[in-house]
């Protein structure tokens, strides 16, 4: 009878984590993504320098030996003789990073917007949702392209201004940060623009949930003791939204990654020497011809990207199932 409390505890609804663990696709996806992230952010440091630079061995097939140095190109080389395996890993860094940061931006905007809209209700809500409807009608890729074109140079100027200003003020850290960001200004602008277009769905979902939550009596109870609206949003609504936010974060990341690849594929996003999955695909697609197949340049990035997107979507679905009380039974 010593373990009686334990059995009674397991009688209640299994918590979210148990459900995710039970879902095989979600678990496999989680492991796959974890391994990929760990590999992408560690392995490049251990690779020999010969793999990180251009070489004379252009278009070497997979598993061929290097021309300049005694190394094995696991995934072959590209037109500049760069090792594809190394580029795939750094590309994963960029794509994942853009995906996570872009999704985080959209998450912050979408959550705030949705919470305010749902909580205020009435005319404010109607107005805010019509704005969302309007923005839905704007072609996303077009918006991103115009945004990048308009703000790329502006942002560079800002960074330069910040750098000079902090140099004068003697803020070493800020100066270094601005200097470090300069070559990446286009990526930063792109991430911001991706975040700016991806928040709409998040805002709608959060708003819908807030409309439900704000009618629950624990909100009324909090109001009856004199709690301010802002604190009700922060202390009562936000914790109850966290599961939904997490779920849609995992579903927004692949959407952002896909947008980024699309832009890079068009040549509007990441540029050499930096790489992303999209820019690698572009390089691969450019050298495709019927005479001589350089399949590895297209196949490896495509497979890696598809698997990652699939895994993120499976994980998102698994989380959604886990947090939806109806599907838990």
């Amino acid at each position: 009878m010593a373990d009686a409390p334990k059995t009674s505890a397991s009688l209640h609804r299994p918590d979210g984590w148990e459900i995710v663990r039970r879902s095989k696709p979600a678990m496999i996806s989680l492991v796959f993504l974890a391994v990929l992230v760990v590999l992408a952010f560690t392995v490049p440091f251990f690779l020999p320098d010969a793999l990180k630079t251009t070489s004379n061995g252009a278009f070497l097939p997979p598993l061929a030996s290097g021309v300049d140095a005694p190394v094995t190109h696991v995934c072959g080389t590209d037109k500049n003789g760069q090792d594809l395996f190394y580029r795939l890993l750094t590309g994963a860094q960029v794509s994942m990073g853009v995906g996570i940061v872009g999704a985080a931006i959209s998450l912050i905007i979408g959550t705030l917007y949705g919470m305010i809209s749902g909580f205020m209700g009435g005319r404010v809500d109607a107005l805010m949702m019509r704005v969302v409807d309007l923005l839905y009608a704007v072609p996303r890729i077009l918006f991103i392209m115009i945004f990048i074109a308009a703000f790329d140079s502006v942002f560079k100027d800002w960074l330069d201004g910040i750098r000079l200003w902090s140099q004068e003020a003697g803020w070493k850290r800020l100066e270094e940060a601005a200097h470090y960001l300069m070559p990446y200004s286009k990526i930063v602008v792109m991430i911001i623009s991706l975040g700016l277009v991806e928040w709409l769905t998040m805002a709608r979902i959060i708003r819908g949930q807030v409309l439900v939550l704000r009618e629950l009596t624990f909100v009324t109870a909090s109001r009856a003791m004199g709690q301010s609206n802002w604190q009700i949003l922060r202390k009562h609504l936000l914790p109850n939204l966290s599961t939904i936010i997490l779920t849609y974060l995992t579903l927004t990341i692949p959407a952002v990654i896909l947008d980024e690849s699309f832009l890079s594929f068009l040549g509007l996003g990441i540029e050499d020497p930096a790489a992303s999955w999209g820019s690698l695909l572009k390089d691969g697609a450019q050298v495709i011809n019927p005479v001589e197949s350089k399949w590895w340049l297209l196949a490896f990035p495509a497979v890696l990207m598809s698997l990652s997107l699939l895994a993120l979507n499976f994980l998102g679905d698994g989380l959604r199932d886990a947090f939806d009380p109806k599907s838990a039974d």
Partner: protein
């Protein structure tokens, strides 16, 4: 002097329609209610679903902006105060809700839930609050270990005890109890009711006790108000109301109290139909209209305010129901 005075309180909600969402009608949820509630007294408020009991409770707790009328609480007119101005007053008036599963935030521990009133009202230090939480748990008969648990780990009755602990945290003078036991099993209802009575005795609380049946209210109340379609039909001391009801609606509600012995089954009049919509209430006596009473038409245009028929016994006098 009475603790709470409500005078001709009206709470109307606009019904919006059309493209421009203009108010095309109003739903008269509470339509001219007056009563007084003394210190340490319990006023029971009964009526069918949809008669405006809960709305009245929320309006008194100023969770709504009353359309007209006056609410005086503890010597202050609180009818038109803003939410910010109401904050200090809220220490003295709290609510207990119907569904304890919904009235406790599922993501807060019991400690978070019970500390919230103190934090909102900026009372006490962290250590003091910890101690008070344990005191509160003690008062409502829960173990100290409950503080670190989440609401779903408790049964319905225990959850309601947590809700009660939260309501008494700030030592209020009045608690609006909105059907506090109707979501609970019959076996735990009496425990919770007795807890409320004990707390009333210890802390000198006043209750506005809302319920939809007269049987629970009988156990609790000094006086009982019977509400129908946003208006009070009859208001009397509990004993008087049970022994000599004057209004037909009160009689119908008394008839509806189940009697455990089938051999004592009375001939009873069952209520026909539903409470009519408060959006376009019938003229005259609303209950006579529902019962299709032959004298109903005489009540149209009559003064239907409450009249004191014997000391403390107030009834809406109309030719059809009394």
């Amino acid at each position: 002097m009475s603790l709470l005075t409500v005078q001709n309180l009206q709470q109307h909600f606009p019904v919006r329609g059309g493209v421009l969402r203009r108010a095309v009608a109003s739903c008269k949820a509470v339509d001219g209610v007056s009563f007084e509630l003394g210190k340490g007294e319990t006023l029971g408020l009964v009526g069918e679903s949809g008669c405006g009991k809960t709305t009245l409770g929320k309006a008194i707790a100023r969770l709504l902006k009353p359309t007209s009328g006056q609410i005086t609480f503890d010597g202050q007119d609180i009818t038109h105060k803003s939410m910010g101005e109401l904050r200090p007053m809220r220490r003295n008036m709290q609510m207990i809700f119907q569904d304890p599963a919904e009235s406790l935030n599922p993501r807060h521990t019991v400690r978070d839930i019970l500390e919230e009133p103190f934090i909102v009202q900026k009372i006490g230090t962290k250590e003091e609050r910890r101690k008070w939480v344990l005191d509160l748990l003690d008062k409502v008969g829960l173990a100290n270990s409950a503080a670190e648990k989440f609401p779903f780990e408790f049964s319905g009755g225990q959850r309601q005890r947590i809700g009660i602990a939260r309501a008494i945290a700030l030592k209020p003078k009045l608690i609006v109890c909105d059907e506090p036991v109707s979501a609970l099993d019959v076996s735990v209802q009496s425990q919770v009711l007795n807890l409320l009575l004990d707390l009333q005795r210890d802390m000198g609380l006043s209750y506005l006790f809302i319920a939809h049946g007269l049987s629970v209210v009988k156990h609790m109340s000094d006086r009982v108000a019977v509400m129908y379609l946003g208006k009070i039909m009859e208001l009397a001391p509990a004993e008087m109301l049970y022994h000599s009801p004057r209004h037909a609606y009160t009689k119908a509600l008394l008839d509806a109290i189940p009697v455990p012995d089938p051999s004592l089954r009375r001939s009873r009049k069952l209520l026909q139909g539903d409470v009519p919509s408060p959006i376009n209430p019938p003229p005259g006596c609303a209950f006579g209209h529902r019962m299709k009473h032959p004298n109903w038409e005489q009540s149209v245009g009559m003064d239907l305010s409450l009249k004191e028929v014997s000391p403390g016994h107030w009834v809406q006098l109309c030719p059809c129901c009394t």
